[in-house]
């Protein structure tokens, strides 16, 4: 029963993830007084890519071919360790929330290699920038999780979610995590999802050589990763526990609450993106330094017991 619920959660999350991307785009366009693409546009894109022919450069090695599978596979595996809308267990004690960061790093490693593989200038630039940013992002994410984990002395997501209640340190940690989420989902102060302008691309630059099915897989992986980060943030800010035995009504309530969290998150992210300008790459250090300082501040406040 537990496992079927876990699989169901993963399936729902993967299928709903593009909807979240579409919704954020819709919010941004509404704020700019534009009509914008319909809500289901990310789905249409994926279907379109699936129907198209795939072209692979002759100069690439097996890494280029393997990367989409690794990226999508590791992202879906990460879903098993994250409290998406059920909290009481994660993948049968196989790992805790830190495993999620490891799985993300695995995907990122392969994607960066694939970006370099084709030997185009853009791919290499995107890869190096991605690694540059991730070296700032990962410490913040780990310290943030450490702060939340210290509430129940366990980094296992089920155990973490049993210690609910808002504390000041958790709130400050959430602020740090929010900045990490902006950086990791290639949002505006760090990256811009909407443009293929050469100077600003980070994530898109690595995907530039891909087409057809592989591109569809990478797009799906990106939106799933975004959903995972959002639900991590939601779990830190607004944890909601459900007991070990999930009943049907519990499940429906949990899913409704999760949807609400995602809507609120999308609104906040959309507003932030509209309100900020894209930063120069070396200014991103200041932005992520702010995030790191906040995670350390959360640790300091936690040490005083608040």
């Amino acid at each position: 029963m537990q496992y079927s619920w876990l699989l169901f959660q993963a399936l729902v999350a993967v299928f709903c993830a593009p909807l979240l991307s579409g919704f954020i785009r819709k919010v941004k366009n509404a704020l700019r007084m534009r009509r914008g693409a319909p809500l289901g546009q990310p789905y249409r894109n994926i279907v379109k890519y699936l129907a198209k022919e795939e072209i692979v450069s002759e100069t690439t090695s097996w890494i280029f071919r393997a990367a989409p599978f690794v990226v999508l596979g590791s992202t879906i595996a990460a879903l098993m360790f994250v409290p998406v809308f059920s909290f009481s267990f994660s993948a049968a004690g196989m790992g805790d929330v830190l495993t999620v960061f490891f799985l993300f790093a695995l995907g990122r490693f392969f994607l960066a290699l694939a970006g370099l593989d084709a030997g185009s200038a853009f791919g290499g630039m995107g890869s190096s920038r991605e690694m540059f940013i991730s070296s700032f992002v990962e410490p913040v994410a780990i310290v943030t999780v450490a702060v939340v984990a210290a509430h129940g002395w366990s980094a296992e997501s089920g155990e973490m979610s049993r210690h609910i209640g808002t504390s000041f340190s958790r709130m400050v940690a959430a602020a740090a995590l929010f900045m990490v989420v902006l950086a990791e989902t290639s949002r505006i102060p760090v990256d811009n999802q909407e443009t293929h302008l050469e100077l600003t691309m980070i994530h898109e630059a690595m995907l530039l050589e891909y087409s057809g099915r592989s591109l569809a897989m990478l797009e799906a992986a990106a939106s799933t990763k975004q959903l995972i980060w959002f639900s991590l943030l939601g779990g830190v800010l607004w944890p909601w526990p459900f007991g070990g035995a999930m009943t049907l009504t519990d499940g429906i309530a949990a899913m409704a609450l999760f949807g609400l969290k995602m809507i609120v998150g999308a609104l906040v992210v959309g507003l932030t993106e509209i309100g900020l300008a894209k930063m120069r790459l070396f200014r991103v250090v200041d932005f992520l330094g702010l995030a790191f300082l906040f995670s350390v501040l959360a640790l300091v406040i936690l040490s005083l017991g608040y």
């Binding site: 808002t166 709130m171 602020a175 932005f287 300082l293 300091v300 017991g305």
Partner: protein
């Protein structure tokens, strides 16, 4: 929960002020910080159902969110000075110093705070941090305009401190302070305009140069 959220917002914006490189960014940041302060006050007013606090919150919205920031940004446009703030200390070092300031504030609070209510502790720490960061901005930024903003930020911190410690100052004092701050901002703004006319710059460390 909501109070804690707004207080964290104030904290984030206070730290973000130290990352600012340009004067308009600093002013917009101050505007947002005041907006969050307004939300904290409004939250307090709604929970305690006090008409006076509503008036104070409205005054805060009018003076600190709308009037002063628009006046300052107009001033920046008018004196046509270089927009960069001129940092004596780069953003990351400023952030690390601010971390120590907050750490000091929280240790200080945990010494003598009589209650272990999270919201009270948070408000106390945030307000002392805001005061100290305002002071920091006054000391470590070159342009004289950042001195005004630093002073206003300190005032925001004191306002928050007063509303946490004493449930707000007496009504008339509150109103008097609001006008005081507004007049202070205008006078220092005009002063800045004059300084720029005489010296052709507003950099504090060069104001001691003799002028014939």
């Amino acid at each position: 929960m909501m109070t804690l959220f707004f207080l964290t917002g104030i904290l984030v914006l206070t730290y973000a002020m130290l990352v600012c490189h340009r004067i308009p960014a600093l002013i917009q940041n101050f505007r947002l910080q005041s907006l969050f302060l307004f939300l904290v006050t409004l939250d307090f007013a709604v929970r305690h159902r006090e008409a006076k606090v509503f008036v104070v919150a409205g005054l805060l919205l009018l003076v600190k969110v709308i009037l002063i920031p628009s006046f300052l940004s107009r001033l920046v446009k008018k004196i046509k000075v270089d927009e960069r703030l001129g940092l004596f200390l780069n953003p990351l070092l400023s952030l690390i110093s601010a971390l120590f300031l907050t750490w000091g504030a929280s240790v200080f609070c945990s010494w003598f705070l009589y209650t272990r209510q999270t919201a009270v502790f948070a408000a106390f720490v945030v307000s002392i941090t805001v005061v100290l960061v305002g002071f920091f901005i006054m000391v470590f930024r070159m342009k004289a305009l950042s001195q005004i903003v630093g002073l206003l930020v300190m005032e925001n911190g004191i306002f928050l401190l007063a509303s946490v410690m004493a449930g707000g100052m007496p009504f008339f004092v509150e109103i008097a302070i609001a006008f005081d701050v507004f007049v202070c901002a205008i006078i220092t703004g005009i002063f800045m305009y004059r300084i720029n006319k005489v010296f052709t710059h507003i950099e504090v460390h060069r104001l001691t140069d003799l002028k014939g």
